[in-house]
Symmetry: C2
DNA sequence: CTGAATTTTCAGAAATTTCCGAAATCAGGT
DNA sequence: ACCTGATTTCGGAAATTTCTGAAAATTCAG
């Protein structure tokens, strides 16, 4: 591996981390390298920087393209493919969220729905189904929230994040007022 | 494997899925089985149900305990260890989020901070550092949001989810009003 | 069409991870 | 202390994943 020490540390860390995710070491390293490179890189520059085989780089880039994490660029008068990570880190986050959802939650959601449809053949299965329904409901709440939020532009998304739990305090205040009103009038639920 | 078909399907799916996460197939299967079992299970019941070796079950349970995803129970007059997944699925979600953060983001955050502190030795490193700072900033925003939200009780959390992006619309309205006020008075920024 | 540059594919080597069975350890009960 | 039932550890077998080098395919210039 043939990189400035700071970049090498980052690349190595991302490689290790990659395995805790679904991606393998070299894919993580390739992405890290592209991420910190000001200019797009061609495959041989990656081979050079990372000290891995040309074919391995080809595989890695293919995988990163499947994840939409990398952009293919062409330089006029050069036949080689150049790759780069998007500049906008919020866009990277969105892509990552979308792709992980696609790979990690959508398949489960579809299995859950299918199993919930089935006629249970025993008490055990009936209970299992009730648990599956709980899980399905939770995942749906989360994905609904995600689908709603993912369309926000960056500024609003950042606002929403910085707001955090304060959102609910507003609602609480509103609830207390409403509840107070009901109490005075002496109707229904507290 | 010796389970009712519906449960078997779920267990097998969770096993496959497990590999897309950081956990391995059998750990996923063990968890799935515990999740849909109304009563706590002992190791031999898991061996029986899943058709894997006793030692493998022991390893798997140890891993699930490290993740805090499984509760050890004792039945009076029985020396064996029994295991169960928590009933409350929101609690499971919280645990999952906490443990994944601990394993997947905290180490990266600490490396990023360390590398950002270093004195860059070249223009390349200087640029790389600027990218690292962007990444660090984004992750901090996300973890701040998470730290803020994770303390909410389930009801409030559900409310926050169902609110989704509507939060920002309220703020937009507020901004428009404030901006209108400034315009009328004829001061500063639009 | 030919040929050089580049990328992709693929079979198997290398490395890693998972899994089992045997042995060791542990925790009461007698 | 010793026995018994239960759990954990651990070396290495089995399976899976990653990685490589050679060959094939693709792409474009002339």
């Amino acid at each position: 591996m043939n990189l400035p020490p700071l970049i090498q540390s980052f690349v190595l860390h991302f490689g290790e981390m990659g395995s805790r995710w679904g991606i393998n070491r070299t894919v993580g390293q390739i992405y890290a390298l592209l991420y910190v490179s000001p200019e797009p890189l061609c495959a041989d520059q990656i081979v050079e920087g990372l000290g891995i085989s040309r074919s391995n780089v080809s595989m890695g880039l293919r995988e990163l393209q499947a994840w939409n994490l990398v952009i293919l660029r062409h330089i006029p008068g050069d036949r080689r493919d150049f790759f780069t990570a998007p500049d906008d880190i919020w866009q990277i986050l969105r892509t990552l969220a979308e792709e992980r959802k696609k790979r990690e939650v959508d398949p489960t959601l579809s299995v859950l729905r299918e199993l919930i449809m089935q006629q249970p053949g025993s008490e055990e299965e009936r209970y299992a189904q009730s648990r599956l329904m709980e899980m399905n409901g939770l995942i749906e709440q989360l994905t609904n929230w995600y689908d709603d939020v993912k369309g926000l532009d960056t500024e609003r998304l950042a606002t929403l994040l910085s707001l955090g739990s304060r959102v609910t305090r507003l609602l609480d205040a509103k609830d207390r007022i409403a509840s107070l009103g009901r109490k005075r009038r002496g109707d229904g639920q507290p």
